[in-house]
Every structure is written in C-alpha cells, then in structure tokens.
Amino acid sequence: MGGHGPYVWTAYGITLAILIWNVWSALSLLRRNLRRVAGETAAEEPARRPKVSRMEDD
C-alpha cells in the first residue's frame, strides 16, 4: 500500500464496522419488536393458549 496502508485499512475497517452494526441492529430491532408483540398477545389472551393439563402439573 506504499506507506498508506494504515490509512486505507483503518478507513475500510471503520466502514465495515458501520455496515455490520447496521445489519445487526436492523435485524435485532425487528426480532425484538416481534417478540414483544408475541409476549403481549400471550399475556392478553390466556384463554387462547393451550391449557396445561392438571395431571401433568402433579
């Protein structure tokens, strides 16, 4: 890299980190929100969930 290696690699490294953060944060935000909505639905509608058999509890 003709003595410019550190500049080029640092710039590429930072850009790569920004790309990785963006992909990770977008995907995890969607996963988190879906999980939260699923949790809210489960809490709101206990009647719709399959009931656990009493015999199994004992």
Partner: protein, 250 residues
C-alpha cells in the same frame, strides 16, 4: 387525480410489512455481495492512482457512505413531509427508519474523509472547510431528529414535530453537494456527477460504481427491515399482527 388501485396498498400496514419482508433479504444479500466484490476490485484489482498512489482507494468507500447519508436524509425529509401533510403513519415510520442508518453512514463519511485528508491535505480536520462543516451539520440534523423524537412520550406528537425539523434541514443536502463549487474547499470537486465525461478511467470507475450500487441496495434492505420493525411497534395489538407474531397463537 385518480390514483391507480395498487397505490392504495402502500397505506396498508400488513401489505407493506409483507412487501418489505419479501424484498429485504434480497436487497441485503445483493448489497453485501456487491460491496464484497467492489471492495476486492477496488483494493486489489484497480491500479494505484498516478498522483495519490494507494491512499486514493478510500474513494471506493468514502463518497458512497456520504451519498447514502444524503440519500437517507432526503428520503427521511420527503417521508416526513408526506406523513405530516396527509397524516400517514406509515410515512412517519419510513422517516424514522432512515434516520439511524443515515446518521451512521454520515459519521462514516466524516471519519473516512478525515483519514483520507491527513496524507492528501496534511490535516484530519479543518473547521473552516464548507464541505466538512455541511457534512457535520448533516450528522447533527440526524442526531437532532432522533433526540427530538426521544423527548416526546406521545408518538403522534413526536412524528409531527420531528417532521418539521426533518423538512427544514433538507436545504442542507444541496449545500453539501455544491459546497465545493460555491466556496473554497480543500475537498475536490465532483468526479462522477459531471455532465461531460467522468474524470476516472474505466479500471477505477467500474469498482466505484459497483460500490455505489452495493451501498444503495444495502441501504434499502436495511430501511425495509427497520420499517418492518417500526410497523410491528406501531401496530402492536392489531389483529393481523397477532396472527403473524411467532408463538402468539396456538
């Protein structure tokens, strides 16, 4: 004016959620692939620059990050304006989705620019430089938009107030673009967006454009995934979402 029938689908959260979910993986995969190819081409195959030597290779990432930041802001402002004028919540969701992506890419443009500036201009940072200052303002506009939203508990109010800030700030986008022509700047003038011929040989132009395409595809993939997350958040409790959410129904 009568809108075509398909246009109304863009006002339907379930349809937009499904459409975004169908497109996003392809956009993300194609974007990352193009970036990998472009980076290899730019770092290994493309010849060194006659004047700058090897350090010019930052040109395959720096203008692209800056361009995504400006595109994200423009899109955010248009979406916010649509949401504000016609009271469309989906449009506000698009605007919110663009902000963090734009902020991080603009930050990347400033950092890669600073790194490039040291060996070519002899300085990392110049407070009086119009290109650097207008780009810094862009970053502050993104951060201001996100901070302003965070200050409201009521989302409708956050949507409306932050939309005004987004729209006002859009004047900065052409200022960034023309700053190198209007004022004295250390920054070079445009090499690609010229009316005559681009000031770059094909051996450098091809990887440059592959990177532009890759960053654009990736941006829209990220935007759609964030939009999906925003729709889920805003539609919390809606019937279609209950049926969709994994594990929500037996």
């Amino acid at each position: 004016m009568k809108l075509p029938v398909w246009f109304h689908r863009f006002g339907s959260p379930p349809w937009v959620y499904g459409f975004a979910g169908a497109c996003a993986p392809w956009l993300l995969a194609a974007g990352l692939l193009a970036i990998a190819v472009g980076a290899y081409w730019g770092l290994v195959i493309a010849p060194p620059d006659a004047r700058q030597g090897e350090v010019y290779r930052i040109i395959y990432i720096h203008p692209q990050t800056a361009y995504v930041g400006m595109m994200a802001y423009t899109l955010m402002a248009i979406a916010a304006a649509i949401g504000f004028i016609w009271r469309i919540k989906l449009a506000h969701a698009v605007a919110v989705s663009a902000a963090p992506i734009g902020a991080t890419f603009t930050f990347g443009a400033l950092i890669t620019g600073a790194i490039w500036g040291r060996p070519t201009w002899g300085t990392y940072w110049e407070w009086g430089d119009p290109r650097i200052m207008s780009e810094l303002l862009l970053l502050l506009m993104f951060l201001g938009y996100l901070a302003l939203r965070a200050a409201f508990d009521d989302r409708d109010k956050a949507d409306r107030v932050s939309a005004i800030l987004a729209v006002v700030g859009v004047v900065n986008v052409p200022i960034i673009h023309f700053s190198v022509e209007w004022w004295n700047s250390l920054h070079q003038t445009a090499s690609i967006m010229q009316l005559d011929k681009p000031a770059m040989p094909a051996s450098m132009l091809v990887p440059f454009l592959i990177m532009v395409a890759g960053f654009t595809l990736l941006f829209y993939g990220l935007l759609l995934r964030r939009l999906q997350a925003g729709i889920v958040d805003r539609e919390s409790g809606a019937r279609w979402l209950r049926d969709l959410a994994p594990g929500a129904t037996p």
